[in-house]
Symmetry: C2
Subunit: 718 residues, 2 copies
Amino acid sequence: MLLRTYRQQVDKKIMTTNKCLLSLLLSICGSMVAAQEATPKHALMPVPASVEFHPERLVIDGSFKVAIRGHSDVRLQSGIGRFIKRLQGRTVLAFPPGLSSDDQTTTLVVHCEGPGQAIPSVGENESYRIDITARQAVLYAPTVVGALRGLETLLQLVESDRSGFYLPGVKIQDQPRFPWRGLLIDVGRHFETIDVLKRNLDAMAAVKLNVFHWHLTEDQGFRIESKKFPKLHQLGSDGLFYTQDQVREVIAYARERGIRVMPEFDMPGHATSWLVGHPELGSAPGPYQIERKPGIFEPALDPTREEVYKFLEQFLGEMAALFPDAYMHIGGDENEGKQWDRNPKIQAFMKEKGIKDNHALQAYFNQRLLKILQKNGKKMIGWDEILQPELPKDVVIHSWRGTAALGEAAKRGYDGILSNGYYIDLIFSAADHYRPDPLPADSTLTPEQAKHVLGGEATMWGEWVTPETIDSRIWPRTAAVAERLWSPRTVTDVEDMYRRLDVVSLQLEELGLTHLKNVDMMLRRLARSEDIGPLRTLASITEPVKEYRRYDMRPQTMLSPLTGLIDATRPDSAEARRFASMVEALLSDAPRLQLYREEINRTLADWLHASLALDPIIDRTPALEEARPLAKDLSDLGETGLEAMSYLKSGMVPTTAWREAKLAGLAQAAIPKSALEFMVISSVKKLVIAAAERSQLKSTTPAEWKKRITTLATLPRQ
Amino acid sequence: MLLRTYRQQVDKKIMTTNKCLLSLLLSICGSMVAAQEATPKHALMPVPASVEFHPERLVIDGSFKVAIRGHSDVRLQSGIGRFIKRLQGRTVLAFPPGLSSDDQTTTLVVHCEGPGQAIPSVGENESYRIDITARQAVLYAPTVVGALRGLETLLQLVESDRSGFYLPGVKIQDQPRFPWRGLLIDVGRHFETIDVLKRNLDAMAAVKLNVFHWHLTEDQGFRIESKKFPKLHQLGSDGLFYTQDQVREVIAYARERGIRVMPEFDMPGHATSWLVGHPELGSAPGPYQIERKPGIFEPALDPTREEVYKFLEQFLGEMAALFPDAYMHIGGDENEGKQWDRNPKIQAFMKEKGIKDNHALQAYFNQRLLKILQKNGKKMIGWDEILQPELPKDVVIHSWRGTAALGEAAKRGYDGILSNGYYIDLIFSAADHYRPDPLPADSTLTPEQAKHVLGGEATMWGEWVTPETIDSRIWPRTAAVAERLWSPRTVTDVEDMYRRLDVVSLQLEELGLTHLKNVDMMLRRLARSEDIGPLRTLASITEPVKEYRRYDMRPQTMLSPLTGLIDATRPDSAEARRFASMVEALLSDAPRLQLYREEINRTLADWLHASLALDPIIDRTPALEEARPLAKDLSDLGETGLEAMSYLKSGMVPTTAWREAKLAGLAQAAIPKSALEFMVISSVKKLVIAAAERSQLKSTTPAEWKKRITTLATLPRQ
């Protein structure tokens, strides 16, 4: 009898709390709502150009073997080796070692036509085909890089049920929409170890990105060894720089994964760290110190002195020999020219040469730079600012300004890539980054002009990231950008993107990415305890403030520890999205208003529990003192939500005073504290308004009622 | 009203479930029971030779600065830099950058007398003193290494409360009990990356270990580049080896932390991987392949051929130049000589030279080896087996056999170190490894003989570890070994050791150690979901089987994936210890039997919940199929425990049939499945027996009753 009672309790709890089931339901709902995809079930990301599933399945068991047909080389074999290791890791199956020589009976045949380009380039053929039947999977690709892309797709295709692991029957034909799909990592402001770069290259390959844009120099650090000018890295980096051997190691690692490595040497601004060792290059006499603050700074190279070009000729020559990529990024952004304005020699030079303003002076600098790059066989690429009237057409524009600027450049005949909309350092959601399209549907470019739009890059600017936190700032959101740049333009279903993003996020962990596991680690350090449940609850529905608001709300330098609560929280709260979905479902269930009621109540009660349990934790560790006002807000949110749910259940009408008090409380909770903000405010607001407007359900349709709730909740202030 | 009800519910839940409070209570109980330490509150590990706290405290705030007095060098400055980074990370405080030049007003003064030895040696002075007052902390050390040890102690001293972070007033005088405190990492059976080695060196330094014993060669892999004989690593390693540059990098990294790096080249057995590229060195003609299985294998170097010694002379000469440490480990273990027995030339050689058996032949080999090492200025060290009659006295014995063998060697004048008892690969508890003492209290060695006992080494043999799992197999348990080798012999309180171990374990995470965070990661991969609660519950009270039972129960090769449930679970279940403590406390609370009753019931109910929730998770992923019988056992354990608790509460007497059935069920659950075993069996057994014996409480004292329960529960089978 005792047992039966417990079983019943347990069953009840499982029915109501099982998050797996819930998220499954939610994702099925999401997929059903947006069933525009032919194949809503797969978890492929980026979505291939063409996918056709059929009901066969190819069993994956301990006899899984791979054969190579056609071209074979070390890069392909290493790629297959990594594929097998990951497949073994996931399935915990031990396959027979080595490759098979019999391509008739093996589980997988990789049929590669040729090696592709020796150095990955923007012209690389990355296409592949996959054909999976019950008998065999065949991956066909014209190049090794195409085969590597296909192997990643195969790993995303692996499914399982009680009968075992399997690959579903499918025909895939795939190639990228844009040839330039990059991730910029700024290692200037905070240094990132080789290990960080390698695991991020692995993650890039997993979502088919193909350009690692290595932002190597900044006001705050010069991160690459120069054998010709060792004072650059010796005095400009605090000892945190990459040796040339390490650079070669990273390039080789990237090439193994079909990824280009494009270096950036930001000039003439953003160059303080250069001037620490070489003040003679500056537009003011110096001396200079490594910059510690975030922001835009005055130091700039002097474009009027011949010795600067002599220096650059040697330095860029050295770098051109080190980096095999065809492109070299020269930055060119955010130079305000204040040093130039104050330097009489520069002013005299401008007058003499008839250079009318600082823009023109920078254009002059770029022309000189361009010649140096051309001499070294490199194509120049720089930020929007470099687009000046006389700029030759073989220079590439990297646009932080947006699609319009990019389109304008394309019309004038310039190749360009887009980063506006892909600034992942600004803590926006994956959905936000998913929308911007380098070539939007309403583009007015001719097909010929459109070819100039090469793709885009997500930009991981380094003000507030360390090796501990950078993965969580890049992943999984960058997979949404990767999909935008690879998949057909019509792949735009946000719900479905998130469903697949959750799967990809877990798969990235097998490559060593720390975006998930470092959260708890950082919370444990803050709490000085393994018991971090309440803190995790708080962190799960808060996010760092967006855009550049952190700068003001939490002033820090590049030497400050990035180990606070804000650093442990992640962008794009999945828990807030889950809560919002449940509230949406509840309101759609009007007039019954029962769907997810228990789960919503439980979640709200959890917030209340957590807020109360946080106080003693915060008491023990002053590093969490800044969480105290957030704990108070969390309590208010839980209480407010529970009260609203109680009204909704009972049908009782709350007073206007209650409504006003609760909305005022929510407005208070919506104010960021410690540079963190709650992502559930609007959902709780919907509950409050729904409770207050419950009686309107008698005089309107449920759909109209829900629409009204949503509208009222969206108004800036009730 | 609604709010008040919730608050009450919440308060109630917090009172009964708050694990922080509970573990605090438990640890206080533990400390009180064993209040033999003068200062039971600190979390220093290893415990210093002498500690005296006083009530002052030194505030740590944003003005924290360090000054160096006396000797200063790069190694000391780097050490202080790492100290500051970790202190900033923990406190989330930004200190003024750089060192202070004013040693009167700075928070911390590091007063170092001199550099110590250029190459860390067994004779290094590692002592230090710490004196902390409300005004200043002074760390005094005769050498840089001593200062590094003291900096680690300072980091362990940091405390906090509502008023902020602080260092407690204290006088510490400290030096190690043994000069040789090592960790062996076997990179032969599974390769470990440089990153793994570096973070483990950091962890070693944190607990004051000073020898990294690099087990570089095994039947399963030859892991170091030889420029003289490149076929060794090229054919013997699957491409998984360290370049000589990387070796130098590791040595430098270790030296920065005051850690010696002693290489081991295991000979004449354990040498299959040498013979893949150089079959001519073997005692049978070959050809040889890299060994994939675990175990002891036949291939051995041929000790009768002069060319073998010529080869070793060159190879060991190359290695001696690469490794600056005074010692070189030549292995010498587990050579069964089967190849020798079958080789007529070897037999003829033995006859000719009058070598009576294989032991004597290996002694001959060692004598030749010794001369090569001596020529290269290295001292020889090898496993017990090398201790043969004619062995010169300057050879060091590394004992896997035990204290007796070590003592015997010491009596004969040999230096020795202990590893018996410190085989951390065998999945025993920290308590098990804490007990063995290289110089136990009952040692019969004279003081002069005792000096030959240099210390000991924890041994991380590599059969079942990968970069993903190795940290959890080494840490935190190795900190207990580190304490045994550093702290006074009298420091033996197991409860207190565990209390401090929990703190150290969290601190190791700040160095990048993955022993905690990779558990959830691996569970997520297995479950293919972030919802791993039930799986985590199962994993938290199970452990891999002990000793060498895994070999038989889960046959795998060195190429098998180590990503199963057994690999995700950790040794020395903290949760099982917590449960055992609660059951102990409950039984000590007889006849009331109320202490922790609610928490025990909740824990047992959690097991039941988890077991039921596991089924659908297992259904989705065949990689967890092996967890199914464990889920069944988990359910039985929960049910059995809850029934027993119900009897204990009601005072009703269960039938004998119930008792027999439950004990039979526990015996069934105690049988390992999938090479995993539950660590809570004996605690649940106590509850069952207590329920059955409840009525005896009327006729005996509570203490006698409890003793009887414990005795009955310990019997092999009721």
